[in-house]
Structures are given as C-alpha cells and as structure tokens.
C-alpha cells in the first residue's frame, strides 16, 4: 500500500436502485493522517460516499482505494473493517448489543482477536472516550452524548487507520461537543468528518470538501473555503461565526 495516500477515489458515481443519482464523478485524495471536513446541505451525498468508501454500497463507476484496498473487490472488502471505521449519524443504529462492553467488543471479536486482547481493547477504548465503568450499562439507558461516545469506542476498539464520521456532533450538548472535538483532535488517524457543524469542522479539519447534489463543488484549506460567503450561500451553508467579518 502507498503509505502516503489513505483514501483516493476517481470519477466515483453512485445511483440508487430507484434511479436517484447520489454521487456524480467525485474525485478526491486524502493523505495518511489528514483530517478532511466534508460539508454540504442535507441530501448532498455525504453518507452515500461514506458507505461507498466502507464497501457497503458498490459504486457503478469510478475507482476507489481505501487503506490500499479496493472496496469493490470481495476479498478486500472483508479486510476493510480492520482498516476503516464509520461513526454513523444516529448512534442507536450502531449500538445493538445488550451491554456497552459487548457492543465495543463486537468489532474486535469479528476481527478474530483473542479474548484477552479484546478485553484490553474494550477497556482502552472506553477509557479513551471517558466511559470507564460503563461496561455493563445497557445502551438504551445512556444519554445522547454517552451513546455517541460508546459508538466511537466501538470503532476505536478496532484500531482503524481511517475514521469516517457522519455528523458526529449531532445530538450532543455543548460540553459533549467540546469533548468530542478534543477527542477527534487527539486521534492521529486519517479522518473524514461529514458535518453541518462548520465551527467543529474549523476546529478539527485543515481541509474541507464541499459536496452538493452529489457533486464536489470546492476543495481547499478549511478557513479559505468556509470564508467564501458566496460559495456557502450557493450551497445551503453559512460562513462560520468566527470567520465573519
């Protein structure tokens, strides 16, 4: 694998079975360790792009390499979960086990790791997101912020080299949001963060890509792109408060 490039896709297009084209000829490259913000209005194709990168949806056109693997290749697709983690928009979609420890252990167990190693990873991941002692708690008893952190722990326990985060600050109160930003900034893995929370994108990402109606309309340094009020206005976004003059 080319260690410098973590994610690379060229002319990526995806159409849903009902005929709705969600992605149109997208091309982007992310270097290892990079943090890219993916911004755009609702329905822009951010989640679809993530699902294509994770090998859940198969694009009809274009090439993809994620952690050196091709998600469209069946053998590579089986190896992808060890390399790529997704944090879903709604944590309830991700937390399905009867206890938090079981849920965090779900991924590492699927990787075939020995029980001792899985336990170590569960403890470490829960500690990292500030949920030490929550092992035996049941997911539906947690607050929105705790659910989000538990979902992140479930992915961190797999130690992926690439993290795809779909609206990670959604359902979080201001303190939870601040803690999330701190946590994300501490992670040295490659990250792609899809969000409407442009202040958070500014805090966490050096580069942003603007996606609208399945098309990549702008990429560049976060503060430059997000400062462009005409661009933001044209694609249903707003210039973050701290960049307004």
């Amino acid at each position: 694998m080319d260690t410098q490039v973590a994610i690379e896709f060229q002319d990526l297009s995806f159409t849903y079975p009902d005929g709705k084209q969600a992605l149109h000829d997208l091309s982007l490259q992310a270097a290892a360790g990079d943090t890219i913000g993916l911004v755009g209005p609702n329905g822009a194709g951010k989640t679809t792009l993530f699902l294509c990168l994770a090998g859940i949806l198969a694009p009809q056109k274009g090439t993809i390499r994620v952690a050196g693997l091709d998600p469209r290749n069946a053998a590579d697709r089986k190896r992808l979960p060890a390399h790529v983690g997704i944090i879903f928009q709604n944590s309830d979609d991700q937390l399905f086990s009867s206890t938090i420890a079981d849920d965090v252990a779900f991924g590492p167990l699927n990787l075939g790791l020995p029980a001792e190693e899985v336990r170590r990873r569960v403890a470490e991941a829960l500690g990292r997101v500030g949920l030490t002692g929550f092992d035996e708690r049941v997911p539906f008893h947690l607050s929105g912020g705790e659910k989000r952190r538990a979902a992140i722990a479930g992915v961190l326990a797999m130690r992926p080299e690439i993290l795809l985060l779909d609206e990670p600050s959604m359902f979080l109160d201001p303190r939870g949001r601040r803690e999330l930003i701190r946590l994300l900034n501490e992670l040295t893995v490659t990250k792609v963060i899809a969000s409407h929370d442009l202040e958070m994108i500014l805090d966490s990402c050096r580069r942003v890509a603007v996606l609208d109606q399945g098309k990549l309309v702008a990429t560049g340094a976060a503060d430059e792109v997000l400062r462009d009020s005409a661009l933001m206005e044209a694609h249903g976004l707003e210039v973050p408060f701290r960049l307004r003059r």
């Binding site: 997704i86 399905f96 086990s97 420890a101 991924g107 699927n110 990787l111 479930g154």
Partner: protein
Amino acid sequence: MTLAFDKPDCPPSFLQRLDPRWKLASVLLAVLALALLRTGGAALAGLLGALLLVVLARLPWRWYCLRMGTALTMYLLFLIWLPLVVEADHDTFDLGIVTVSLTGLIRLFVLSANLVGMISLMLVLLATTPLHNVFKAARALYVSRLLVFLMLLTYRYVFLLIDEFARLRIALRVRGFRNRADLHSYRTIGQVAGTLLVRSAERSERVGQAMRCRGFDGEFRALDEFSTTPRDVLVFSVMAGYAIGLVAWDWFAR
C-alpha cells in the same frame, strides 16, 4: 428510558454460576415437559419444581411478581372462561345462577400451573444469565443463527420502536387528535402503524450497514467463554430426570 427488561440484582446463587449452555438446555427441556402435562398432579408437581428454582435463584419477589402478573393478565383473559364452557360429558356443579364445569376448572388449573411454571423457568434463566450469554448459549446449542439474531435485535430495538410510537402519539395529541371510534381515528392509527413500519425498515437497513462496517459476517460472538463443570452436568441431569419423570407420571395418570 426504563422499559428495558433489566436483569435484576439477585443475591449470588449457584444458578448464576452454571454454564449458560447447560442452564438453557435444562430450562428448555423443563419448559417442554411442562407444556406436555395434562393432569392436575403432574402439573402441580411441575409448578412446585419451578417455584423451587425461583427460590433457589433468589429472585427479587417484586420483580418476579410484576412480570408474572403482566404475563398472566394476558393469558388469563383467555383461560378464565374454561370453567364456564360446559359440555355433555363434563362433571358440573351450580354456583348460584352459573353452572360450572369441574373438568373446565381442572383444565384451568392445569393450564395456569403449566403457564406459571414455564414463565417462572424463563424468568429464572433471564435473571441469572446475562442476555448476551443466553444468545451465545443458544448458538452453542445449534439454535438457528437467524432466530438468535432476530431475538437479540428485537430485544434491542423494540424499545426504540416504543419510543418512536410515544413520540408519534405526542405529535398527534398536540395537534388535537383524540382516539375515537370513527373513520378518522382508524385512518390515523393506520397511518401511524405504516410510519412505524417504514421507520423500522429503514432502521434495520442502517443497523445492518453498521454491523457490516464492523466486520459482521453472520456469526454471533461474545466475550465470555463457557466451561462445563461437574455441577453443570449434575444440575442438568437432575432437571432432565425431573422433567422426564413428570411426563411419565402424567402419561400414566391420564
């Protein structure tokens, strides 16, 4: 929210320490035996055996009675009529203006005893074994993978559905909806049911995607390792012997 079927805080008991595979096998065998009983004596013996396990498991009585009461309320609505159904060959007696069937009364007793016994056994299992271990044990006993996942995910998501229903109900009420016996109400309830169905389908799709993203290949895995001890085999043998004994007694007593 607090609708979850929480595992109660039972004081330590030997039942908690049993290997979940042997425990599940014992309970399933005993439940099957209870379901087969038709005579009063055997049903009473089965019920007493199940209640003995409830005592040995040291279940909190309030927790036990609440769940038993809820389950029985549903079933008794159907069973309560049995003594009032009089057929030609039934022994009967008069209770004021009502003729009561003795045969029906015995049937009510047998069915109720079987029911209480079976529910008690399941409550003992669920209260002394973490749910994920019950599912893992079920897989170890070659219960269909699909069935195990269906139970696991139903347990997990039924509460979210209840939450969603509660939100929809509030949304209806704040817009002035009151449930009445008219066409508008029936139509609205139909639409709510449809909305819930669509939301469930969408959620199941997303849950499936999230599971595959974390390497799920269709096999159920859990952290706890099971190990069989002589005590597990002994308890299973005693329960299996009791179950077979009950069925034999019932068979010869008919």
